[in-house]
Symmetry: C2
Subunit: 180 residues, 2 copies
């Protein structure tokens, strides 16, 4: 890796319940010294879930950082040491009350590589069985079902504003040959 | 917005060159009190740039937060008060040495709404004119050209790991009817 930045010093700025922040002093490829702000995040899973009626499940929730309600595919943080495949099945059931027997991995990507190490693993879930919803204590959300036609219209109108949601939906659209 | 979380107190934790961090104390919809960690970011632009030979321009650079080199579409932070359309043209030229006369907006989305307010505006640029590259002082990158077939193979092998890159490329693939 010819552009690698060597860490000279690493300073912990903040340890939180969701993220940590550290400030790294690095040596650049040209030998100069600079600093990099790094947000540490445990990683996340997200699921494009299709019901037997080919409806897409989205959850609406308030996002404090954005100060607005967003429609997103079901998602959540990884527990310490948790396998992403297991986390995806767990989060889907907790948030939506649907259980998937198996999931297909769509893509894993860094959400904001310029300042965060968060990687989100995105899955496709089909053949869902209704069970019961069990959201976290400080999690408030509502569940909505959309046809692909409605998804396409929301995409075109810019109403889907969450990156992992847009990525997961587009990935399934490309695989299924749905046109925008 | 029925799930809105009212801010009771907001505490600044860190002010950096790329991000700020604050800790908000909020009142949840059920009246209970919780905290939210919020990373403030100025927002970003990213560009799917197609050359006259229908090649996609990607830049390879080291991402300290991820401790690896990533292939990404050209992108950068918004300057204070800068219009995203102008920033996209500026960043494309600075990073790749190609100038686009006009851009088409593909999508705007929050990269990590669970903890950050960063919104990335993604564009499509065609009809490029070669000018000259002018990267920032602490920015080291190389430019690469890929055919759509190569992009599809990299997507399938999981070699494109940056969310905005995957989102932008899939958006163009869906619009152009490219199949995965």
């Amino acid at each position: 890796m010819k552009f690698k930045e060597k860490t000279i010093e690493s300073r912990e700025i903040f340890k939180g319940k969701m993220i940590n922040l550290r400030l790294d002093t690095v040596e650049l490829p040209n030998g100069k010294i600079s600093t990099r702000e790094v947000v540490e995040h445990p990683g996340a899973v997200a699921v494009v879930a299709l019901t037997s009626e080919e409806k897409v499940l989205l959850v609406r929730q308030y996002r404090k950082a954005c100060e607005e309600e967003l429609l997103e595919i079901p998602a959540g943080k990884l527990d310490p040491g948790e396998d992403p495949d297991d986390a995806a099945i767990r989060e889907l059931e907790e948030e939506t009350g649907y259980r998937a027997e198996s999931l297909k991995k769509l893509v894993s990507c860094y959400t904001s590589p310029g300042f965060a190490d968060e990687m989100v693993h995105i899955y496709l879930a089909e053949n869902l069985t209704p069970t019961s919803q069990a959201t976290d204590e400080d999690e408030f959300l509502s569940i909505h079902h959309f046809s692909w036609q409605e998804i396409i219209e929301m995409l075109k109108r810019g109403e889907l504003k969450d990156a992992k949601t847009v990525t997961g939906l587009l990935m399934v659209m490309v695989q299924k040959g749905v046109e925008l």
